[in-house]
Subunit: 459 residues, 2 copies
C-alpha cells in the first residue's frame, strides 16, 4: 500500500530546489588529471584558460576542492521557469514489462531546447554577462546545445554566435530557425568568416563540415573579437558541475519518498548529463556512505569507454584545444552510421573517465536498432518521444528491468531521460522503414584513431 | 510580500487533480442548439449519431443536463503521465513589460502531441476500447490531433487510421513519423482507398486535399468498417467537456493561492481549448457567483466569431456531417495565408457560439505578423516556443497587460498556452525573413461563404 503513495511524477517544491551545485571532484581521491597546454605539456593555468573562457568559469574548471558552489540567484530564477524537472515513476512501463523492478526517470526534455543542455547554457551565459561581455561563440552539431545557448543569451541580452556543422545546418533548418527565434546568428561551418574556415574550404571544397572544425571557428572568433568568449556544452568539468542540478533534484525527490536506488543509468557522449545525474550519489559512494551501481551507456559505433584508451588526447579534431586525460578513440576518430549525434564524440569527460578507471562506474555499449526499439516501446507506453541519445539509457533500463523479471528482484532503477526526439524524426523514419543499420567498428577500424593519440609521458 | 509566495509554476498534487469533467451546458440558460439531421432537419437522435460515434460519446454529446461527469480511472491514470499541466506565473514577462498586471498561463504543451488535444484523444480512445471496438478513424490537418489520437490509441492497443491532408502529409513528414512511431496508419487525403477520395481525385486530379475531404474519407471508412468509429478533435460538445480538465486544474491552482482572475483569454479555432479553459469560470458566471471577462482570440483571416453569422451550417466542407448552429463563415469558406492551421475552421463550437451570442464572451481578431511578434517576444522572455495558434492568446494577453501599464491597474490575466511550435518553424522562418503577410478578407471575400449557408428555419 505504501507503493501507492508514490505519484506518477514527483515535483519538488520551488523552495526544495537546490541552491548549490555539487562538485564531485572535491570528494574524489584520484582527481581527474589537469588539462595540459599542448605546446608546453604543462597544466593549463587560469590565465591561459581565461583567453578563451570567462573568468568565473575558469575558476570552476580548475576547482577540485570545493564540494558545493552557490548557484547565483539569477540562474536560480531562470531554473524556476523550467525546473524542477519531474522524476517520473514509470508505472506503465513496469506493468507492460511485468517486472518487479521499480523504474524512475528524470526527464530533462520539458524546455524548448529539448534537453538538459539548458542547465549549463544559462550558467555560462550568466557568467559571461557578469563579466561584462558582449557575447559568446560556440559550435553546435545537431543543434541542441546551440538552441540552449541561444535561449540563455536571449534571456541575458547577450549576443550569441553559433557555428553549426554545415550538414546539420542544411538538413535541420528547423533547429536553425529556433535559434534565430532566440536572436542568435547561425553560421554554417566551415565558413569564409574565419581564417580556419577559409583554409578548410580551400583544402576541402564542398566539405559538409565537422564538429571539430566548428569548434576551431568558434574559438577563433571568440579570441579575435573584443568582448567575446567561447563556451562549450559538454565534456568540461564546469559543465558537469552545472549539470549536477539533475542529480541533486533526483536525490531530493527520492529522499522525499524514502526511495533508495540500486542502479543509476545514463547515456554517455561527452559525459555531462551522466556526470550531472550521478554526482551526488557518487559523492555518497566516495565518502563510503552508500553503494550504487552506475551504468554509462554509449553507442557501439562510438565506444569511448568500453573500447577506448585512457590517455591524454586532444579535445577537438583540429588539435588546437588543450589536452585532456580521458578515455578516447583518438581525436581523428570519425564515428559513422549513428543517429545519436550527441553521443558521437571521440572522448569522454575527464571526471567520468577517472571514475570509470577507478572502477566506480560500469560501461556498456548498445546498437542503434536495439536503441530505437526501446525508444519506440517507451514512447508508446510512457507517452514521451525520446531523443535517440536518451534512448540508450532506456534500452539498458529496460534490459535491467527484464533481468529483474527473471530473478524476481525488486530493484529500483533510475535513469536519465535527457531529452525529446522531435527533431530526430528522420532517424525514426529510417527505423520504421527497416533501413536502419548497426555498425560496430572492428579493432582495425579503431586503430587509426589510436595511432593519432599523442604520446604524453605521465608526470 | 504575499506576492513572493506564488511560485513560478503552480503544480497541483496528484490527489488534487479533478476526478470529474464539468459540463458547462448544464448551467446555461440558453442551451446550445441541437445538431440537425441534414436530410430531415430534425435533431439528431442518439441512434443516428451512434452510426458514426461511440455510444458513450454520443451520450456526452447530447447531455446538456448533468454538470459533472466522472472521469474513468483509466483516463485519470493516463492524465497522470502528463498532467497536471503547470499554471505558470509569467514573472519575467511582467518585468519585461513593466506592467502592474499579473499574468498567468496554463501550459498544455508538455506532452508529445505538443498540445491540449491529448486530453480529449485519450477519452475518446478509452470509450472506443470500452465499447470493444477494433479501432478509430479520424482526419488531421497539421497533425496535432492525429498525433494525440495515435498516442491515445497506442496506449489502449486500438488501431488508428488517420487521413492527413495531403499537403501537410508531404510538407510535414516529421508529424507523420511521430504518428507512425505510435503505430498509426497515416494516409494522405484524398486517397484511392475510399469512394469519396476517388471521386475527388477524378474531379480534381493533383489536388493537395482539404480538411473537409479528409473528414469525409475518415467517416466513410469508419461507417464501412466492422468495429470502427469516427472521432473528432474539436468543435463537438463532448470535446469541450473533456477539455474542461484545463479549466478545472487552472481554477484549482488559482484557488490554492487565493488568486482571482479578472480576464481569461484563449485562442479560438473550433473552440475546444477555449471552451475547456473557461468552463468552470463560466459556470460561476452563469450561476451569478462571479464576474470575469472572457476573450476569444481568432485570426483576422478566419474571423468566425467577429465577422461570421450565427446560423445552422454544415460542420464539414463536404456537407455530409450534421448541421450545427454556430458562428460560421460558411462551410465553403477557404481561409488562406495564415500559419495557425488549428484556427483555420469556418465555424465555431455551438457552446462557444451560444455563450458569445448571449454576450458572455468577448471576441477579437488579430493579424498574424502581430501574433508572431508576440510569439517571439514570449519565447525570448519565458523560454517556451509557442505554437502559432497559442500565440494569438499571447498577443492579446500582452496587449491587455500593456493597457494595465497605461492605467496602473493590477489586473490578473490568465491565458491558455495550448501548445508548442516545434513543428511550425517554416512559419517562424517566414516571419524572420520578413516575408510573412497579413490577410484581412473584405466583405466581398466573405460573401460567397455566407451565400452557401443553408437557410434553415428556426423552430
Amino acid at each position: 500500500m505504501k507503493e501507492k503513495t508514490i505519484p506518477y511524477k514527483i515535483y519538488l517544491e520551488e523552495n526544495e530546489m537546490p541552491t548549490q551545485w555539487y562538485n564531485v571532484r572535491a570528494d574524489m581521491k584520484n582527481k581527474p588529471a589537469p588539462l595540459l597546454n599542448p605546446g608546453t605539456l604543462e597544466p593549463m593555468t587560469a590565465q591561459e584558460l581565461s583567453g578563451v573562457f570567462c573568468d568565473e568559469l575558469v575558476k570552476q574548471e580548475l576547482d577540485d576542492v570545493n564540494a558545493y558552489i552557490d548557484i547565483p540567484e539569477e540562474i536560480r530564477d531562470f531554473y524556476k521557469m523550467y525546473r524542477p524537472s519531474p522524476l517520473v515513476r514509470a508505472y506503465c512501463l513496469e506493468k507492460k514489462l511485468q517486472t518487479p523492478a521499480k523504474i524512475y526517470y528524470k526527464f530533462e526534455g520539458n524546455n524548448t531546447s529539448g534537453s538538459h543542455k539548458l542547465n549549463s547554457a544559462i550558467a555560462q551565459a550568466y557568467y559571461a554577462k557578469e563579466q561584462g561581455l558582449k557575447g559568446v561563440t560556440t559550435e553546435t552539431g545537431a543543434g541542441q546545445w546551440g538552441t540552449a545557448l541561444s535561449m540563455a543569451c536571449s534571456y541575458f541580452d547577450l549576443d550569441c554566435k553559433v557555428f553549426m556543422v554545415k550538414v546539420s545546418y542544411e538538413q535541420k533548418p528547423f533547429r536553425r530557425e529556433v535559434m534565430r527565434t532566440y536572436g542568435a546568428s547561425v553560421t554554417p561551418s566551415p565558413s569564409t568568416s574565419t581564417q580556419v574556415g577559409k583554409r578548410i574550404l580551400e583544402a576541402h571544397p564542398g566539405t559538409t563540415g565537422s564538429l571539430g572544425c566548428a569548434i576551431s571557428e568558434a574559438v577563433e572568433v571568440a579570441v579575435g573579437s573584443e568582448g567575446y568568449k567561447y563556451v562549450l556544452g559538454s565534456v568540461l568539468s564546469q559543465v558537469l558541475l552545472h549539470q549536477s542540478i539533475i542529480g541533486l533534484e533526483t536525490k531530493a525527490a527520492l529522499d522525499k519518498y524514502g526511495i533508495e536506488p540500486d542502479i543509476i543509468i545514463g547515456c554517455a557522449g561527452g559525459g555531462s548529463n551522466l556526470g550531472g545525474l550521478i554526482a551526488p550519489f557518487m559523492g555518497e559512494v566516495l565518502k563510503g556512505e552508500k553503494k550504487y551501481r552506475f551504468i554509462a551507456v554509449e553507442p557501439s559505433s562510438c565506444p569511448s569507454l568500453t573500447r577506448g584508451k585512457f590517455a591524454y588526447d586532444f579535445c577537438d579534431t583540429g588539435m588546437v584545444c588543450p589536452l585532456a586525460k580521458m578515455y578516447t578513440l583518438g581525436s581523428g576518430f570519425m564515428p559513422s552510421a549513428n543517429h545519436a549525434g550527441g553521443l558521437r564524440y571521440h572522448g569522454m569527460s575527464s571526471v567520468i573517465s577517472q571514475l570509470y578507471d577507478d572502477g566506480l562506474i560500469e560501461a556498456t555499449s548498445v546498437e542503434q536498432t536495439a536503441v530505437f526499439e526501446a525508444a519506440e516501446q517507451f514512447a508508446r507506453i510512457e507517452g514521451i518521444l525520446p531523443a535517440p541519445e536518451s534512448a540508450h539509457a532506456i534500452r539498458v533500463a529496460i534490459d535491467e528491468a527484464l533481468k529483474c523479471k527473471e530473478t524476481g528482484e525488486e530493484k529500483t532503477i533510475v535513469f536519465g531521460l535527457t531529452g525529446t526526439g522531435y527533431f530526430d524524426m528522420v532517424a525514426y523514419e529510417k527505423f520504421h522503414d527497416g533501413v536502419m543499420t548497426d555498425y560496430i567498428p572492428t579493432d582495425a577500424d579503431l586503430q587509426p584513431g589510436f595511432d593519432a593519440i599523442p604520446n604524453i609521458p605521465e608526470k
